[in-house]
């Protein structure tokens, strides 16, 4: 509650600064968090990747030796392949299923609220819960495979979760189950924003409904598709909990992923140099994939908006 200053010219500036001071102080926690926990920790991680750190950090310089070692580590190469396969199929699966769910729910169906609740509830649950449920449901001895065999298909086989070549796809199934409701919610919001005149116009022109969705509606809700894809991509890079709960990276190395490789090397195998090198590779990959989007969406100056 400052009163008006006595002599205007120089002290008005001072008063302005004094008024700004509490605001600047209020930003201090955020500034400290950004400087220490985000920028500081990131720089520290990158620095450690150029050292020979084992269990405790040392600050020597071994150049790119850890990176050389990393790319000669079978487990990391496997992890990279798995995350690529998982990422492509998971994002595509969620986008397609989420879009279909949104479109079908938008057909003036009955029980819309109930259906939406059913499609989105897995997203409220953790990847740990998701992984444990699917691990049980896909159990070859007592789960889905047994049920279908008992139904009279004794040769039915669905033991992917214990199959080295197929286990990654079970992660995709569980992931799509958990996350496609999110895509549905985002896309449904987009569909609801479309002018109903569009449907009158396309009906008069006798354009088939599916054509309208693919050629007109989809381009109109492209921003929603991009948003959903980015959120899913972030989830892919962070993929850790689901693997830990569902497969523990196995059988063998067949469902290892980079985030787990990093965690294991940092906190269990006392390979801080190698772990931070892998973290740096992950960081560079994420930034390379996301930077065009971050620039276009958030940092590019926008006309008519503040």
């Amino acid at each position: 509650m400052t009163s008006a200053p006595a002599n205007p010219a120089p002290s008005r500036l001072r008063a302005r600064l004094r008024a700004q001071l509490p605001a600047a102080l209020a930003l201090a926690p955020a500034a400290i968090i950004v400087l220490v926990a985000y920028v500081g920790a990131m720089v520290w991680t990158v620095r450690l990747s150029f050292t020979s750190s084992k269990m405790l950090p040392v600050f020597d310089n071994v150049g790119f030796a850890q990176y050389q070692r990393l790319f000669n580590t079978e487990r990391f190469i496997f992890s990279a392949w798995h995350i690529l396969i998982f990422g492509v199929l998971f994002i595509a699966g969620c986008l397609v299923l989420g879009f279909l769910l949104a479109v079908f729910i938008d057909q003036r169906v009955r029980f819309e609220g109930l259906l939406r609740t059913i499609f989105l509830y897995p997203f409220a649950m953790s990847f740990i819960v998701t992984g444990l449920v699917w691990q049980w449901f896909l159990n070859p001895e007592l789960g889905l495979q047994k049920v279908v065999r008992d139904l009279g298909f004794p040769n039915f086989s669905f033991d992917w979760i214990v199959d080295q070549n197929l286990v990654v796809y079970t992660l995709v199934i569980a992931g799509v189950w958990q996350s496609s409701g999110l895509v549905m919610a985002i896309m449904l919001a987009g569909l609801r924003g479309i002018d109903s005149e569009l449907w009158k116009a396309t009906r008069i022109d006798a354009i088939p409904t599916w054509r309208v969705y693919v050629s007109i509606v989809l381009p109109m809700i492209a921003p929603m598709v991009v948003t959903a894809a980015v959120l899913l991509a972030v989830a892919v890079a962070k993929l850790y909990d689901l693997v830990v709960a569902m497969t523990k990276g196995g059988p063998g190395l067949s469902s290892e992923v980079p985030a787990k490789f990093i965690m294991d090397n940092l906190f269990e195998r006392s390979n801080v140099g190698l772990g931070t090198a892998a973290a740096t590779v992950l960081l560079v990959t994420v930034i390379a994939i996301l930077s065009p989007w971050i620039y276009a969406e958030h940092l590019r100056p926008k006309r008519g908006r503040r």
């Binding site: 400052t2 009163s3 509490p22 605001a23 600047a24 209020a26 930003l27 926690p29 955020a30 968090i33 220490v36 926990a37 985000y38 920790a41 990131m42 520290w44 079908f104 938008d106 057909q107 003036r108 819309e112 259906l115 499609f119 989105l120 897995p122 409220a124 953790s126 740990i128 819960v129 444990l132 699917w134 049980w136 449901f137 007592l142 889905l144 047994k146 049920v147 008992d150 999110l182 919610a185 985002i186 569909l191 609801r192 924003g193 479309i194 449907w199 396309t202 309208v212 948003t227 890079a237 962070k238 909990d241 830990v244 709960a245 965690m263 940092l266 772990g275 973290a279 992950l282 994420v286």
Partner: protein, 295 residues
């Protein structure tokens, strides 16, 4: 982003094969989404003898709550047999302060960023936003070092600070965007009346923040309850949150696997976010939309 109540899709004709197809697709999808929940619930009410028969989809012949009691109070992690209740209370002790502090810091930061043109605030926001997209693994090791240096490692306060740190981007985004949508005249009028930074926040801004605080609380309660990696890394053995304990119980390799106890423990862990989801309804979707859509 608004969620209109009425469907915008094409108007359906009365009955047609296409209409049947729409419902068939929705029904099959609903089954796909519901079956894991069904399996989880049914298994938790069965006895192990019944589970060994392998009818994973069937109703329990003799429903029993025995697995639930065991999961809650005496399931084993391989180290101890105190059940998942330990984790439940740990999660509560982590959740309450984390949600309150992270929302408060987010509201304060968003308020200072939107109404007060502090120099460097936009740059701060940009870094924060980029930080939200980077996997935790990039920050975790140095943070563990820092936290053990200042004595916060493996303590409740430590994990609370961690949740505040990693919740800050989303919380700031929510509050900054919400405050930017409020009429600036309101703020100017309060300035003219001589109110300062704290006064305006307390008497003008906070009373108008209820909707966004609800959205933030829903996001943080589900997010922090569902967290695994941060609790695993920072909470320490004695404070393990429910997700970590659940994983230890289910994936512990000692003795015979008790699927009914495992599933009961899983349901118990999912109960809090599921309740939040079912009670909050549209607010949950609003939260997703607010968090997902550009600023």
């Amino acid at each position: 982003m608004s969620l209109a109540l009425t469907p915008a899709g094409p108007k359906p004709q009365h009955f047609s094969v296409a209409r049947l197809g729409v419902y068939a697709f929705l029904a099959i999808s609903a089954a796909f989404f519901l079956i894991p929940l069904w399996v989880m619930m049914m298994t938790s009410f069965k006895t192990m003898d019944e589970i060994r028969l392998g009818h994973i989809l069937s109703l329990p012949a003799n429903p029993t709550l025995a697995a639930w009691f065991k999961a809650w109070s005496s399931a084993c992690t391989g180290l101890a047999c105190n059940g998942i209740s330990v984790g439940f209370w740990n999660s509560v002790r982590i959740l309450v302060p984390s949600v309150i502090v992270s929302i408060f810091v987010g509201a304060l930061t968003g308020y200072a960023m939107s109404f007060w043109r502090v120099r460097g605030a936009n740059a701060l926001f940009a870094v924060l936003l980029v930080g939200a997209f980077i996997p935790y693994q990039v920050f975790l090791y140095p943070l563990v070092r820092i936290f053990s240096m200042i004595g916060l490692y493996s303590s409740i306060s430590g994990i609370v600070v961690i949740h505040v740190i990693f919740g800050l981007p989303l919380m700031t985004l929510l509050f900054r965007n919400y405050y930017s949508s409020l009429p600036v005249e309101l703020f100017n009028a309060a300035r003219v009346d001589g109110a300062g930074f704290v006064g305006i926040f307390r008497h003008v801004i906070l009373p108008m923040s209820t909707p966004i605080i609800i959205v933030a609380a829903i996001l943080q309660v589900t997010g922090i309850w569902n967290d695994f990696i941060l609790g695993l890394t920072f909470a320490g053995r004695t404070n393990q949150p429910m997700t970590v304990l659940l994983n230890n119980i289910v994936n512990s390799t000692q003795g015979e696997v008790e699927y009914n106890v495992n599933m009961a423990a899983t349901v118990l862990t999912a109960l809090v976010p599921l309740t939040v989801y079912l009670v909050s309804g549209r607010w949950f979707v609003r939260g997703i939309a607010a968090g997902a859509v550009k600023g």
